[in-house]
Symmetry: D2
Subunit: 393 residues, 4 copies
């Protein structure tokens, strides 16, 4: 049954189902989508509104319907907190408050990780019900939940058959993020792995995505320091300057900062953060990568990067960068971009990890390209190809 | 007559004729070329040694012979000064001292600017003599002399015929850099305009370059802050982030710093420095561009850039960059790169401003592209084309 | 006649009369005083609430009544603008809105600078009327108006008699800030010269202050970069490290930024900003001091200081500081502090420039001490002396 | 027997005995002392040459004779390494090479930590022999050896008697630094604890120092980030600004960096680094303190401090500092200063931890004062007292 109240437009209707729906990123993205719908915000930050990307023939912003999984909390409360700390404009939150409450009412209880069949079935059913109730053309699942510690044993499950057997036995060695990924694929939905958690990135789930013919993209959104690194490292490479050390320090507050204050969880993040520079330069570069929790920073993150490099005749030089960004504000438009792009890829019949979406990720699955400008070229070429098809609006 | 003492190799012999031969950049480039010849230095900083560029079939480093124009000074003294302040390694300067003295002996008196026929003839003869005496396949003239103030009236000379008449009359309204450019073209030599001075960038001289069938490249080497700006600005553009202000402050000592402490000379430099960000972003961005002389900095330059930008839902964020570089060390390999690339372009019969060399310049003449990564793509494509010809080594 | 509506407390009642009452600093100070009165704000930033200063026996915050001179505008509008840009809390401005409107109603038209007798008489009458109508024990005049360009000819007026004659003739060569100072002294009021404008700092006005037996303090509030400089420079001095250069760059928006974008007005400010480091170190230090207007910064100021210094055996080292402050928020509590301290000094019969208040100023009139910690020692000793008198509350 | 070759002057002769004599700090200090003796270096960095300190009547620099303990290496090699990396001037090292070799010949084998009687006796004998052979008035022992991990059990030894019994039994639970301290006190020598290691800072050794009537000072030289912190924190305190977070990140190479890359050793250092800000402000301040090893930094250390603070009406502001210093160059003059000051204190009969020397230390033993300016006041007052005695030169 289609809930007519949600019918915003007769144009293509795309569901965005957030894992971690009441967190800062999902809430900011939802507030933004609602504000855009009401003409209360410009499209600043939305890559999908740039002409080189929009030409892919993306589903419209005003056809987006939001739902999701989470445990506890409320999107309205979260939005009001974000407004109080200057991340979201007070007036915008007030204007979309009722719409946001309606979205929050669609949020279903998530899982804390019982890795069994009943859990993945329940999660998949939630998504299917959402798609049916709102008459959606397709639903893109977006994981923006808290970062999990690495789970190496998830890789030991060699095939989908093995994973299915373990789920049936109620003892699959996979984290919650992988259960959500299973549910998404099983429900026929594309998936955005916006965190460094394991998620779909195991042999068994890669196999499931192919079996279900769905595309997915990951992992770990590139929103701050790594964005800078993958912008700056190619400069050194193409100028034949030799980078000798690259030290990276991050301080941040908020829930993300608290999670990453746990060294186990931080290990996932620092691993993806460290790989980009060496991948671009082609040689090892020493230097620490640190993430520290400073509660007073709230949703803001400050990164300090210190780079030493060598030029002609061995001359030693230095560069420092300080980045003072708001992670939620940086991430939120990207998850909307990714939802639109994966929806279009799904429509065009693509499946598996979409290499052309590496532009958005610290660890670009399906691709070895880390340099931002080259990722942009790959993205826009792919968009041109998608847009060349007759079904594009 | 060929001076056999200078015959370093039977391979192609390329002359590099520096305008401002006893300055820091030319001296560092010469010390570097001599050290490379003796296997005393790695190729760090030399873009022309990267495989994507080297494939153009460039003349070899060991076929380079250096000469130039300057007034007063000595390359040996300059090199020892640079070693004393840590810009050049003491041991390297000692090792190439005699070779450097031999180069210095080839430096001919320059001009302080009498804009008449006799002057340009004398300058051109110096270059022709250098080419003949050393049996060079070709000579590339490289202007690395002190920055001049802007000379708007040089643009009023509408044609080569008019310029010739004014030179004959001994009263051409053009600065020294343009006289050198005239001499270079007249002697059939490609020219690198590595400073923001007027040089070849007037209607009459553009006409002369075409008449003489020589390629040239300019202007104002992109070695520090603008390198950063043209690397970073595309990141904001492709992420749809709106840059609100970009403030840029430079402090530097040395001769260049002293010259730029003169607001008239600095005007040339700040004009080329300011254009890149707006060209990339496509909209005006406020913010000062300052160059200040701090004698204590010596040959080192520190730039501080402060950027404010707006993201999703109007969130305001900031980025700061500090760049601590040695201008001579950054510029020197680039002038060797440019000499090799223009020599190859000349060999292939190219003429006029070479757009594909915009990668090296703050103001890329012949091109509207400022983004470093896109300039790199253009450069390497051009190199591939040059290299596809049968005459490439 | 005393307006009973204004009687806030039977305790000592102190008037604060702002020159530039509708500017950011006066408005922020007034909002703050009103919020403190209602218990809506902590005393953060108020030096006069620290026990070492409070022991002077200062007039209470809840006895403060505000008035002032200005041309155009409204304190309420200004406060709402400051709230919109995040300088003042929205809720605080809303809570004191009516009180603020009542203060704004007391603001009298200022002068654009007709330097004649009628003007100073009118200005002084405004202050006297304010004192009488509100039954104030005393009124402290605080100049927080826009910075004027230097007026060297004001110093040519050698005596009060000469100034009086010139005022009678309608042609005194003194700027508006000096007319306000004349009026303040003539009305028997202490004066805070919080800007670098000429104000009371001429021979004739120094004479007038003595004649009227009033104390005054100045000049140019030390709120940001100079605060840092006078904190850091003593570290180099007491560690015998030789500072070789100190470069200082400031970017700021708002009205103050606009005023200082005029090089003539900026000259006043950069002169006072440059003197502190050399005064502390005892030797000349090179390096630029720049103030640039960047509208996008709003009421925020970012300063970047770059210091080179030499240590043992000539080793060269560097320090950089970035200060991101809100000038209004930094200055506002200091003007309340100064008003209370000068009121107490007046009560105790002090007159002339109060050297012990150098802690608050870039150019500490009456003192040669610039080092912040030594100024703090001088301030707190003076407060102890003031507090030792029987009349202290 | 006095070795006449070492007689530099008939003036008071002071021995400086370095624990870790072949490390960077001791070598730099020795090269500096030798260079000063030959008039090859200015007194930059020497606090003891400032008039306010020199007035204490300090033993002259030209009466200093250096010796020490270490294991392996050579001061000459170390000095040449330091010259190669730009820490020491090449010419200075060459000029004092022979003198330095003579000092190195006096270095005796240290201990790796056998905590028994024989060891402390041997170490003490080495010092006594040095004093006798060179006819020294007194010897100050200076610990500049590698930082040890914390040894909490050393505090469990409640008295000297107990420590003596444990040493006799060959099983005292104290680290090498405490054995050296025992030897120094036992030989009647003042001691500088320039590292955060345990050293003399245990109940038993404090008792021994008193018994032997020797003064000592510590601990952990304040040379970089903590110097900045204790300079800047009082600014916030006296301006009533509330510091909300202070994050501190250090990257350094060299031997010190390698040692501190071991988390156990770093624990000693980060503990002393963290205490200063809270001690000055009087309330807890969150924020990480990190030390990371980056080999490419060599003897250079870069610290980045990020401070958030709150001003009037809750306005949030930020300050960042980057300090690029050479630890050896910063520490070396201070150990010479401390040797001279402790020698004078010893001459005047002072004993125990000298509180007035807190100016030099991260953890000022015997004092609760951390603010640099107040420590300077305490130091110079003490110097004035010392200088007032008749025996001062």
């Amino acid at each position: 049954m289609v809930n007519d109240d949600d019918v915003i437009s007769p144009t293509p209707r795309t569901g965005v189902w957030f894992i971690g729906a009441r967190g800062s990123v999902a809430t900011t993205a939802t507030v933004g989508a609602l504000a855009l719908l009401r003409g209360l915000a410009p499209t600043t930050g939305l890559v999908s509104e740039l002409p080189q990307v929009a030409r892919a023939g993306l589903p419209p912003l005003d056809g987006i319907v939001v739902g999701g999984h989470d445990v506890g909390g409320s999107m309205v409360e979260r939005a009001e907190d974000l407004a109080a700390t200057g991340v979201l404009p007070v007036a915008t939150v007030a204007a979309v408050r009722d719409d946001l409450a309606a979205v929050d009412a669609r949020v279903r209880p998530g899982t804390d990780g019982a890795a069994d069949r009943a859990t993945v079935d329940r999660l998949a059913d939630d998504i299917r019900t959402f798609r049916a109730e709102h008459g959606l053309d397709r639903v893109v699942v977006v994981d923006v939940s808290s970062t999990e510690p690495p789970v190496p044993e998830a890789d030991d499950v060699a095939s989908l058959a093995e994973l299915d057997a373990l789920l049936d036995a109620g003892a699959a060695p996979v984290p919650a993020s992988s259960l959500y990924a299973y549910a998404a694929f099983d429900a026929g939905c594309p998936l955005v792995a916006f965190t460094p958690s394991t998620g779909p990135n195991t042999p068994a789930l890669v196999e499931l995505a192919k079996k279900c013919h769905v595309p997915w993209a990951g992992r770990d959104g590139k929103t701050g320091e790594t964005l800078l690194k993958t912008t700056l490292a190619p400069m050194f490479a193409t100028r034949a300057l030799e980078v000798r050390s690259w030290s990276a320090f991050n301080i941040l507050g908020g829930g993300d900062g608290r999670t990453l204050a746990d060294p186990a969880a931080a290990a996932s993040k620092t691993a993806t953060k460290a790989m980009a520079v060496e991948a671009i330069l082609g040689y090892p570069v020493e230097g620490p990568v640190r993430i520290d929790h400073v509660a007073d920073m709230g949703d803001w993150k400050t990164a300090w990067d210190h780079v030493t490099f060598e030029g002609f005749l061995g001359t030693r030089m230095r560069m420092q960068v300080t980045w003072e960004g708001c992670d939620s504000a940086l991430a939120a438009p990207l998850v909307l971009d990714l939802a639109r792009l994966l929806a279009r890829a799904h429509e065009r019949g693509e499946e598996g990890a979409v290499a052309a979406l590496g532009f958005f990720f610290k660890e670009p699955l399906g691709s070895t390209e880390h340099a931002l400008a080259d990722q942009w070229t790959a993205l826009t070429r792919w968009c041109a190809t998608l847009g060349a098809h007759a079904d594009a609006p």
